[in-house]
Amino acid sequence: MSSNNNEKDIVKIKGADDMPSMPASIGSMRMNKTSTWRSIRPVILKEKCKSCMICWKYCPEPAIFPTSPPEIDYDYCKGCGICILECPFDAIVSEKEGK
């Protein structure tokens, strides 16, 4: 998983006594910040954005907040580029990650 984990959400297991009898989850995958998966990042151009929310609709993570204008959640965006392609107003551009 990411080297960029959400420290406070990590479940600490020392041994058998910390574990339930069967493999049952204890925490959420929110601890795994998938931002490190990106090689490109989407950037919303606020002046072009019409808040149609299509980007929010099609994000598989989801890593877009339904605000006006929408905001990318860069902790989790994997840089798949669906939002960039689907935006009807060309209001999202691709930037190289780590610029």
């Binding site: 959420s28 929310m53 598989p60 989801p62 902790d75 798949c80």
Partner: protein, 303 residues
């Protein structure tokens, strides 16, 4: 979160996110999107049975989960049987407002899981069964299934022996079980999928969804065109969107000017080796299937 604009937001899907990000799906995964939509449609009072498939890994390893609802991971063949067992327990424990959902890939549905699915459907067990069809055994590394379409490369149907033979018609199989509700759906049309899920939730008995979930990794296309590919599948008549409620057919998306199937195939590396002759053959099969569906809608549509 800034909101310096006073524009009104109109969401066409329920706002609440049940599934959390941080899951392990590939970039641009159709299956991840499918689950996100399904949970918006069904809500938190859902228990999902997930057999061996991509979602068994996407949900995250012990001790974490991304789904946000109770998940019963189960053996490969058993999605429908497990969901049936859960539905009966819920009934016995008077929890009739909780949905028992089976969420399986094409392998666990068309192939190894078809017995349990057929059994549950024949008994009309009270479950919603969704197959997210990425057209191969993707979790184990892209091996062919009976849902793999004619012409596709997979690791077990390499280019010199690409998959020959038509995709199993799972919708026809399920309609033949006379269950109250069968529907196709696609990640390109989430409003349609969610509308159908809400409808299914109100029906008692077995409800079956065949959902197309493009897979960038296995279909060999860039991750950003997942929705475009799903949309093209419907626009080229490869994957029609329709529902069958108590045997009555209804086309949900009529395609007035269908695009040639080559528009869909050329964007996917798994079809790159196909020549004109093969593409013509595939177009013929697509036309035949569409005409067959039109006849069914004419004969068994709402008139």
């Amino acid at each position: 979160m800034s909101s310096d604009s006073t524009k009104k937001i109109k969401l066409t899907l329920p706002e609440e996110e049940v599934m959390s990000p941080g899951h392990l799906a590939c970039q641009g995964c159709g299956a991840a999107l499918a689950m996100r939509y399904a949970l918006k449609g069904l809500g938190k009072k859902t228990i999902v049975s997930i057999p061996a498939c991509c979602w068994a890994v996407i949900d995250g390893p012990f001790p974490y989960s991304a789904a946000g609802i109770p998940v019963q991971q189960c053996a490969f063949e058993t999605a429908a049987a497990t969901a049936s067992g859960i539905s009966h327990a819920l009934s016995q424990l008077n929890m009739n407002d909780v949905v028992s959902l089976a969420w399986a890939g094409d392998g666990g549905t068309f192939d190894i899981g078809i017995q349990a699915l057929s059994g549950a459907a024949e008994r009309n067990d009270n479950i919603i069964y969704v197959v997210y069809d990425n057209e191969a055994y993707m979790n184990t590394g892209i091996q062919r299934s009976s849902a793999t379409p004619h012409g596709a490369w997979t690791t077990t149907t390499p280019v010199k022996h690409y998959k020959k033979g038509r995709k199993k018609d799972i919708m026809q199989i399920m309609v033949a079980h006379h269950i109250p509700y069968c529907a196709t759906a696609s990640v390109a049309y989430p409003e349609d999928f969610i509308r159908k899920l809400k409808k299914a939730k109100q029906i008692k008995g077995t409800k079956f969804f065949h959902l197309l979930a493009p897979c960038p990794t296995g279909w060999k296309h860039p991750p950003d065109i997942t929705i475009k590919i799903a949309r093209l599948a419907t626009e080229t008549l490869v994957f029609p969107i329709y529902e069958v409620e108590n045997g009555v057919y209804k086309l949900n998306r009529n395609v007035k000017n269908p695009k040639p199937v080559v528009e869909y195939l050329k964007l996917q590396g798994r079809f790159r080796h196909l020549g004109d002759e093969e593409i013509d053959y595939i177009q013929g099969v697509v036309n035949e299937k569409w005409n067959h569906l039109m006849k069914l809608i004419e004969a068994f549509g709402e008139n």
